[in-house]
Amino acid sequence: MMGWLPVALLAVPLLGALLLLISPALLRPVLRGYGLAFSGVTLALAVVLAATFDYAQAARPQLTVDQPWIPGLGLRFHLGVDGISLPLVVLTALLTFLCFAYLSWGDARAPGQLLTPATGRPRALVFTLLVLEVGMIGTFLALDLLLFFVFFEVVLIPMYFLIAIWGGKGRRGASIKFILYTLLGSVVMLLGLLLIWAQTGTLDIVALSQAHGAGMSRGVQVLAFAAVGIGLAVKTPMWPLHTWLPDAHTEAPTVGSVLLAGVLLKMGTYGFARIAIPILPEGAVVIAPWLGALAVVGIVYGSLACLAQRDLKRMIAYSSVGHMGFVLLGFATLTTVGINGALFANVAHGLITGLLFFLAGAIKERYGTADMPSLGGGMLAILPHLGAVLTFAAIASLGIPGLAGFWGEMLALLGAFQPAAALPRGLFLVFMAIGGLGAVLTAAYFLVMLSRVTHGRPARPALSLAATHPAPAVAVAGPEETGSGAAESQPEELGAGAAESQPEEFGAAEPWPEEGRRPAEVIETEPSAPKAEAMRDIRGYELVAWVPLIVLILLFGLWPKLLLSLTTPAVQTLLGALS
């Protein structure tokens, strides 16, 4: 009866995008509010969806639409939500809305504001983001294998353009790497999905999940799980298939990073919960130890990579590798607890890392660089509010109880302590121990980052000084440190210095040779913005975008029952034969 809701969730952003194509001239004056309005309606629909959802029956798909689409292929337009997809749909709608709020709330001249004709192509940006939203929400709603794949692929193209057009200096290489890598993964996944179709003759996820692998031999299941798993693992990303991520994150604009970390990575892990584990349970049992092993390697590897990182955005990107390791470890346990933990960590990571990328973007806009040594410390003195929110986000990300990051990690480890009966327990105990060590390393790199960036005496003058005497402020900042103040006065020297120093210690951290010349880009992006303008503390539009995330991080941290009671019945159903 409420089946129109999922359709409307897809139709509204799609309509918004199409209208932009039809009448560009008419919409140009209202462009700033346009995306906000459409994503706002989508968010409202998502909230209605959450309100009409029958929480007593979270295990089964609700509000379903099931129409034949391409009868010849047996492809059906089958949408619906259950306890697993509902939080992700709402998260997607929320993050997209917040991105639009971030873009259109503030005054147009603020740094990083892309919705101005001067700095970007506003119409194209709104169009791209709306199409992206269609693909993301569709992925979480789809209940048909091919439909899922279609939406999964739809997402890639707008994200490619987002990085390639509005990205940073090395955007070209990063965007090509992103799209080729993920497309390659998708092809492998498609083969796996087709194998399932060939063996069972249906593409319906609901029917396949209820069959729990009936009709497929063990060998086929293992093969299909491996193929689908590789496709999903590229997107997640799982070690060692992660190297597209740091580049994509570093080069993407702020909203791109936020959506990439907040939603796109979740599509990979969601696929494990929606397709791989319920449809191919026997394959899952065979592959799970490998999945777990790669997951814990990813946790430790990601944390260590963060520890030696110079660039803030790159560090947060690598932290995603570590956090997604916890998610994959949870899935690998094949227990209700573990998968619950994985799904919780999924949502928590979307909120926290989304916030972290917003913050990294804000820092990069203000300082002109995200290179931690160049930031020079003392942010709590210069920008106290920004520093405080950064501290909050870092503490949340390292998994302090009371904030959202904790419960997912804890439950994933608890799942590994007692994995499914079919799995080798000793091996998973080792995974748990390594995962625990990874949690310590996670704390280490976040605290070291906070220490480097927020603590210490500021290398640049305090905020009040900069606000009253902008000109001498630059003069003071120049000789002291290699901040952007210095970059303005002596670009060649600094660029050369950075390029020289890199091969010695951290050269490996920067795969693209152009990166060494980042200071030159600083001059391009903020040509003559006065320092006082650039170094203002948190601004209104930022607050609008961040406060909902902060509130939700606190809410889920203090009241984890909200999410867990939603996912538990659904997870119990999907595990079916295994549990």
Binding site: L304, L307, F406, L413, Q418, G436, H455, A508
Partner: protein, 635 residues
């Protein structure tokens, strides 16, 4: 009354949020210079800080009124007061949100809230000019809330939540003066070392909870008799990692002396009286499980024996007054751990209470001294008994309690601990070697404690006043003021804390073993007497020269820090750099390599597409020929 534990936890929790968010908001409209506005912000923050803590203290006292000192006196346990506020489904073992006060929780709740209240009031004076006072007091409130959650939790995972939040509050407060990188480093170190232990602690909770089928403490303790010894040893050993981390025991003790970088009231509250005692508390809470795991008790005894003596020797060689007290805390906590290993949780908790009172008192007095001098170093103090008479008297009480001089409270609690350790020699659960080591080290530590307490007392309050040019106040030290004694907000808590430090033992009922008591007093006086003799011979020189060639190792705390840096920290950082290099050259190198290979192959194919029509036609004909031949051959 069943909601009192919840209220006691929630009040400071709400106060923390109010202090952080509302102290400066809504913006005060008072016109005038920024100083008066700052004062208005401060006074609001003071209200947010002190009132809820005071209310929590009232609730905690109310909860403790019934049981009183029943736990220490060994009375049969009463019915816990509290209730369960629902459960969190996890898909496996649920988490039950239980908050309750039994005999043990009730008295500890009083200790926590009263010391927190004293510290909150004291901080009003101590951080008078600090612009970040609102966030500082808010973190103290959050800490109080977390500690009360640990104390009142009826479920192990709920307890773990409080346990970790305490850690992060400790991190924030140690790093309160973050302008100085050293403070920031100390905060990071404290958090990471305790976090390392906490991971073990969490796994220990998993072992206990999964084998009991429940995370509720009552259920777990009820299932202890049914668990196998292997399970119990594994669980308690893992828990011990968390205990060692939080209570600064060997080998995870190195963070506590560095944690003295925080403001002195924080050292009094978190790093002396309450948080560091949480490790002892958790062992007492799960004591049946520990008693059933004898190897764990042996390990605990050895850790305690090494820790108490080593830390006491290190305390004897420090010049920084706060570091003396920090090592003294490590040593005293090891006493409690030794008491637990020897089989008496009531003696350990008794010493925890008296130590909480007298160590908080000592730190607050040290704060007053530092406030006056503007330096932490004892080489710059001396002769302060005339200028700071009240501080002198109260600190003397504190040192007497620390040394175990009758009738101070520390004398009775230390006597109870020594008695337990002595009994463990003859018939306890410990192996003979461990019991002997423990008792021997405990007696030696009594003497060394007497020595370092006397040294600190003499060098601070006696001798000639040193004339030192006052440096510009650095972050990390208090501001220098011109008053003769500290302001009243600082003195009142000191005087009030001196009362329990002196008399607490009389409230808890006296049990005295004359032989052990006489021995310990003689040893303490012996240690003090030797130091006094050295001091009399040359009041200006440091009596720690009596350590001779051991002075430098003791001062460096036996070089454990350098060892850890060489064995753990630097290899980890090297590994991190290696990972970054590998990620670029190998993992990503493979990706880029495959891209280049594909490009190279396509480059070879491109050679064919050269636009030469003759070549194309040749290729076409060759293809047709091949197909025809193939068709003829294969059909």
């Amino acid at each position: 009354m069943t909601t009192f534990p919840l209220l006691a936890v929630l009040l400071p929790f709400a106060a923390a949020f109010a202090g952080l968010l509302l102290s400066r908001r809504p913006r005060l409209r008072t016109p005038g210079p920024p100083e008066t506005r700052g004062a208005a912000v401060r006074s609001r923050a003071v209200w947010f800080a002190v009132t809820p803590t005071a209310a929590s203290a009232v609730l905690a006292i109310w909860l403790a009124w019934g049981p009183g000192f029943a736990f220490i006196e060994g009375a049969s346990p009463g019915e816990p007061v509290g209730r369960t506020y629902g459960t969190i489904v996890t898909g496996g073992i649920p988490i039950s949100l239980t908050l309750q006060a039994d005999d043990l929780s009730a008295i500890l709740g009083v200790l926590v809230t009263l010391v927190a209240l004293a510290v909150q009031i004291y901080s009003v004076g101590y951080l008078h000019d600090d612009p970040r006072y609102p966030s500082y007091s808010a973190f103290i409130s959050l800490f109080t809330s977390a500690m009360l959650l640990v104390v009142y939790a009826g479920d192990l995972l709920v307890l773990y939540v409080g346990w970790e939040i305490m850690g992060v509050c400790s991190y924030f407060l140690i790093g309160h003066w973050w302008e100085d990188r050293a403070n920031s480093r100390a905060a990071v170190k404290a958090f990471l070392v305790t976090r390392l232990g906490d991971v073990g602690f969490l796994f220990g909770i998993f072992v206990l909870g999964v084998s009991a089928g429940s995370f509720r403490i009552d259920d777990v303790l009820g299932k202890v008799p049914e668990m196998s010894t292997g399970t119990l040893v594994a669980a308690t050993m893992l828990l011990l990692a968390g205990v060692a981390g939080k209570s600064a025991q060997v080998p995870l003790h190195t963070w506590l002396p560095d944690a003295m970088a925080g403001p002195t009231p924080i050292s009094a509250l978190i790093h002396a009286a309450t948080m560091v005692a949480a490790g002892i508390f958790i062992v007492a809470r799960l004591f049946p499980a520990f008693l059933a795991a004898r190897p764990t008790l042996d390990v605990l005894a050895v850790i305690a024996a090494l820790g108490m003596l080593g830390a006491a020797l290190a305390a004897l060689a420090q010049d920084d007054l706060k570091r003396v007290l920090a090592y003294s805390t490590v040593s005293q906590l090891a006493y409690m751990a030794g008491g637990l290993a020897a089989g008496s949780d009531s003696a350990a908790i008794f010493h925890l209470l008296t130590h909480g009172a007298f160590k908080a008192l000592l730190f607050l007095c040290a704060g007053a001294v530092i406030h006056h001098i503007g330096s932490n170093l004892m080489s710059q103090m001396g002769g302060l008994r005339r200028t700071l008479p009240i501080t002198f008297v109260t600190m003397t009480v504190g040192f007497a309690a620390l040394m175990g001089i009758p009738p101070a409270s520390g004398f009775f609690s230390k006597d109870a601990l020594l008695l337990t350790m002595e009994r463990a020699l003859t018939g306890g659960r410990l192996t003979d070697a461990a019991a002997l080591l423990l008792y021997g080290c405990a007696l030696a530590t009594v003497a060394v404690t007497g020595a370092y307490a006397t040294r600190a007392w003499l060098r601070t309050f006696f001798g000639e006043a040193r004339v030192v040019a006052l440096p510009e106040p650095q972050p990390g030290t208090a501001h220098v003021v011109d008053v003769r004694e500290a302001p009243r907000t600082m003195l009142v808590p000191i005087v009030l804390l001196a009362i329990p430090a002196l008399l607490l033992a009389f409230a808890g009922g006296l049990h005295l073993d004359l032989g052990v008591a006489a021995l310990s007093v003689v040893l303490a006086l012996l240690g003090g007497g030797v130091v006094y003799a050295f001091w009399r011979s040359d009041p200006v020189a440091d009596p720690s020269r009596l350590l001779g060639p051991f002075l430098v190792p003791c001062e460096r705390a036996f070089h454990v820090d350098s060892l850890y840096a060489a064995v753990f920290v630097r290899p980890t950082l090297a590994l991190a750099r290696l990972v970054v290099r590998t990620d670029d050259r190998v993992v990503d190198g493979a990706v880029r390599g495959s891209g280049r290979t594909a490009q190279g192959l396509s480059g070879m194919l491109r050679l064919v597409q050269n636009g030469n029509v003759q070549l194309y036609v040749t290729g076409l004909l060759a293809g047709v020929l091949l197909i025809v031949v193939g068709a003829v051959v294969f059909t």
